[in-house]
Symmetry: C2
Subunit: 697 residues, 2 copies
């Protein structure tokens, strides 16, 4: 959808212009207070000649200009006629503040919304809202916003889309935030959240995109947008309600978005390197961090420089909570620091510089340069406790030192870390912002954000399949395939399944054994019997002609007596797999984002520790390995506790193959379960012991 | 140590009174700016008749009054003579700002410190510092503080002790903090941190004690103080550096405290219900929360009331990250809320009230009363996004509603939750404070704090052994006991060890088998052979006379050939234990806090997942059960995955018995390891399969 006339209009008309408190008055005030060139801004109110000193027209039709954007401040029942009138003047975008639509939960509201959507489409107008707070385009000074905020320069490079007007206002109210756009999308039923995303990702004045969303309505478009952001290396930071069970219920009741699983949503963000945050403070601080830094760190390692032991300890401890990597300084750095710091200081990372250098810009710059130049260091965090009364001298010199080092273009970013909310010192926040140094929130938030940043930096360097296979239809009527059928389907996709037969008679089983030798496993083969062991349908470690005959008969007799109704295909006869490390690999099919691959270690790991990784298909071997490495039980695959090192290469290949199978069956697959998948020692591959596929057939 | 003359002096002399910037000038300014009655405050400076309009004396001796407290603003070399002079005038407390002591890390500094400590003891003066920023007693208006802060009413009920002057200042600078005392203890070599703790815990104007410490120097006193606080139900909130490996190294290098394990420190705080926080912001916000609330919740359950779906979702999601319990509302609450809220609202916990009630104090109070009266709700959190421009009307009505409900004394606390730093609205913070409603920091911090509060509330209701058995001496020269000796020692303390013998001959073994029957385990019995299996020293599942004879000979031959040096006592012969759930129970002996009991599930749980609980001995069954319940693997003991429900009662009794053993051997025990301890089904007890004790003998 083309949003140019909506978000970058050349001419604007405000319908319902007024001097009163309310949509009309506040929209007019916002424009007159903030916009320099009002020559192509038109106010409309049939009852007034002038509003706030600006000429007023009686109707849209009376305006002697073509129009791009209509800001509609009048009630719901006036909207469609106004759109029609506007269309005749060239209008291509409209903001509808009015409520009385889907958000009411009534039939009448839903009907109003439907009529609005139809009118918008018919008239080819990109309608923002309804029931929205509007937007501000800070780059071009376009104010179409229904609420007043403190007047202040907010021009910057964070583009915000919010499904909540209140949260949008909170972000605008933060004294450190600077925006390209803020968009409070309201019901987002005509122009959708995903349309705004695509616009901001392409917008050259937007360096970081921040979203508050309650759900995704157009998964395909959402994924395309994420992919494009990933290609452009433009960070997308997302706050989405619904991480917890209760949160999910609230988000669903609030927006009625078709709700896939929240874990699948997470997995999709992981694939495209989008950053998911947990609350509004994180959304604010993370977008501010990313938009302020002159450059991103080339590697996710941090050096912290503090002025006291207490602060240094906090950096070490809270950093470790969020797995921040503090590399050891290189020997030459240590030597240099020993020369620069007082004798009682111990150079280390995190570094307690003591307060002694903070009153001399030159000395401070030297120490900072030494630390930031260390080859192991990706970025520098400067601990910063500067109080109201005693602040000025120290921060002045620290600032001068930082400015000097940054001017030398060493290509590594710096951020400031206050240790409590009240030590932020807003005056210097402004100065530091101008040289590309953000001030982080206090440590628990700050190190969480640095954790997100580290993950983002690592993401940039990894191989990915930047695609997703969304289901095109919703399958119905599922069938569980038998183990044999399941395995044969997987085999076609390269999953290493041992040769096996369905023996219809004892002779066939015996003949098979004579051919392959060794010990066999014999299991009832029937799509009607899913829990084979429960009905005596499995015989293990069978060998010898007599043994095979006996096992065949026993299994048949057991199943026939316990499940006389079952349609039996025969006995699945296969070599007995040797025991390996037990993994579970599964596929679930998310209604929004399609097949999701699940991997975990068998037994207690999945069931008690919920130690599983989820990732959207398709995936490559590097992505499969990343899944495995994210498991807490991963050390067991790498030889912990005297285990052999497992054949990770074969395991990753198998996961990729399962992903390919899932993608090919995205419109028919319900679920797939390989449990267990034995993983053997390096070079010895994997073995599929059991498999179950549930498909629409 | 009696701190009355130091912290609650009736008369004060400032030595080195001055008008310049620095210790002397700032101390005088602090007093004159903040203290109403200066009639018994004496300034001393031989060069001045008056300082800042206050009369100046040439020497201590010249003061026509007895003195309690000496504030020494002059350099290190003047201190001891001044203390001597002061003692003659009755001085019992002194604050020493000067540096040049232990903190320099030099021999000279350490020597100066030693001389100061000796003088303080000889003269019976409680000396604060040296190298400290001093203290303020807000209750009695005693200012002995070396740095200036913004002038503001800070009188309240938080007592702070800080080993860092900078962090102490940061706390004082927080506009919401109100104190009984702030103490920046400096090197704390004369009066120790633990002395201040005891003072504040007994102080009736102190409702909450907050500590920033780098280590504990007097563990016995520290524990006594914690015990007393626990008995008085006075919360103690502690920020201690050293949670991480790097943090521990920094703390150790900074203070030189004898450093026990940080995990043992945590376990001690758990036992006494002290609250450990992760950074300065948490220390500030947690002490503010506890000191502001009119009452603590009777149970650790929360209801959240918000004005928008976005905020409600954040409460649900971030709450779940910190295991906040949001109980379902009772049916009558739901019914009532359905009447009170607009039709499109869905009553639920967390509750999205929508914004519709926030402009009517009466309606708001009704909804709040309905929620807070719910029998399942322990406390209420009110989501609060109030911006600068649009804030006033809503917060006014919300405030009125909250005030009304609180005036009805329903006995449950309320706290406000802003969603971003900038929506705190300081003016209302003051008003809300006065009615006992704290404003929390943004959600990630807020819910972490509510998690601490929940744990504290749960602690209050549980049975505890409020004691610790600190080692009185450091054992040397350890001996590893043989399995038999280890088991026999444990048996005396009630650990259920199966009857066994040390068979010296095959006949003895056979005779034993004839008596007990069943299958036996036979293991080499030698204190010299710790890894018995490695030398063929173990035979399992042995039965029958011949089997026993063969096993005896095999084990003996194996060990004699592989360990010809070993001193062999015979063959430990015991009934073969049936397999149970494998637990590991161990004891380590912390150099500061004595025996710590460790419990975990055997195998990967301890080694890969580090899933262990640590608790100081002695302990009762309720505490043992709490340890088990804190394990991630606890569901496996409760019957997860089709396991039998384990005999938790017997397991807890065994843990208590091991604790008793450890306490009795606190001065000689190095470590104890029972691995595995089999736990059987309910009613079937436990079995000690192997045990190792390392003791000084």
């Amino acid at each position: 959808m083309n949003l140019t006339k909506l978000l970058k209009p050349r001419s604007v008309a405000v319908v319902g212009a007024s001097e009163k408190v309310g949509f009309g008055g506040d929209s007019c005030r916002n424009i007159l207070d903030n916009v320099e060139d009002v020559s192509r801004i038109y106010f409309i109110n049939p009852k007034r000649d002038e509003v706030l000193g600006h000429k007023c027209y009686p109707s849209i039709d009376a305006i002697p200009d073509t129009l791009d954007l209509l800001i509609i401040c009048t009630p719901q029942n006036t909207v469609i006629p106004l759109l029609e009138e506007g269309a005749a003047k060239g209008v291509g975008g409209a903001v509808v503040y009015a409520s009385g639509y889907g958000e009411t939960g009534t039939g009448e509201g839903r009907n109003n919304e439907k009529e609005l959507m139809e009118a918008a489409e018919r008239l080819n107008i990109a309608v923002m809202g309804p029931n929205c707070a509007g937007f501000i385009n800070f780059t071009d000074d376009i104010y179409s916003f229904a609420f007043l905020s403190e007047k202040r320069d907010r021009k910057g490079s964070v583009g915000i889309i919010s499904q909540s007007g209140q949260l949008c206002l909170s972000m605008m109210d933060d004294p450190g935030m600077r925006f390209s756009y803020t968009i409070s999308a309201g019901n987002a039923k005509c122009v959708r959240m995903e349309d705004y995303m695509e616009f901001l990702i392409e917008d050259e004045n937007t360096k970081v995109v921040g979203l508050y969303i309650e759900g995704v309505k157009a998964p395909g478009q959402f994924v395309r947008a994420l992919k494009r952001a990933s290609e452009l290396k433009k960070p997308v930071v997302i706050l989405k309600a619904g991480r917890s069970e209760k949160g999910g219920a609230i988000a669903a009741s609030h927006t009625g978005s078709l709700s896939g699983s929240d874990k699948a949503f997470d997995a999709v963000l992981n694939k495209f390197g989008a950053i998911r945050v947990d609350d509004l403070e994180e959304l604010i601080a993370m977008t501010m961090l990313l938009s302020t830094l002159n450059c991103l760190p080339a590697k996710p390692t941090v050096a912290a420089m503090c002025l006291s032991g207490g602060e240094t300890g906090i950096c070490a401890d809270v950093g470790s909570l969020y797995n921040i990597k503090y590399p050891d300084f290189a020997p030459e750095t240590l030597e240099e620091l020993r020369r620069q710091l007082p004798s009682y200081a111990t150079p280390n990372n995190p570094l307690d510089m003591t307060a002694s250098l903070s009153y001399d810009a030159e000395l401070y710059a030297n120490a900072l340069r030494t630390v930031i130049s260390d080859q192991n260091v990706g970025m520098v965090i400067i601990g910063y406790t500067l109080l109201n009364e005693i602040a000025d001298p120290a921060i002045h010199y620290m600032y001068k030192g930082i400015e000097k080092v940054l001017s030398e273009n060493l290509g590594k970013p710096i951020a400031m870390l206050p240790f409590a909310e009240n030590t932020r010192n807003r005056e210097y926040q402004e100065k530091l912002f101008k040289i590309g140094v953000p001030i982080l929130p206090p440590p628990v938030y700050a190190f969480k954000l640095l954790g997100y940043l580290s993950k983002y930096v690592e993401y940039q360097t990894k191989e990915r399949t930047l695609e997703l296979m969304l289901p095109e239809r919703t399958p119905e009527k599922f069938t569980a395939l038998s183990e044999y059928s399941s395995k044969m389907l997987l085999k076609d996709f390269g999953v290493p399944v041992a040769d096996s037969i369905i023996a219809k008679t004892t002779d066939e089983a015996v003949e098979y054994w004579k051919r392959v030798g060794g010990k066999l496993v014999m299991k009832i083969e029937s799509a009607d019997v899913l829990h084979k062991s429960d009905v005596g349908g499995v015989a293990l470690n069978i060998e010898g002609e007599e043994g095979i005959r006996r096992a065949f008969d026993t299994v048949m007799t057991n199943v026939r007596s316990k499940r006389p109704d079952a349609n039996i295909n025969g006995i699945l006869t296969a070599p007995m797999l040797k025991q390996g490390v037990e993994m579970i690999v599964g596929v679930s099919n998310d209604p929004q984002f399609g097949p999701m691959i699940m991997v975990g270690m068998g037994g207690v790991f999945v069931e008690v520790f919920k130690d599983v990784a989820l990732y959207p298909a398709p995936l490559c071997k590097a992505e499969a390995l990343e899944m495995l490495m994210s498991l807490k039980s991963f050390p067991l695959l790498k030889g912990a506790r005297g285990n052999k090192v497992c054949d990770l290469d074969a395991l990753c290949e198998t996961i990729v193959a399962i992903g390919n199978f899932a993608v090919s069956h995205k419109d028919t697959l319900k679920e797939l379960d390989i449990n267990p998948l034995f993983v053997y020692a390096e070079g010895e591959g994997v073995g599929v012991a059991d498999a179950l596929i549930v498909l629409e057939q």
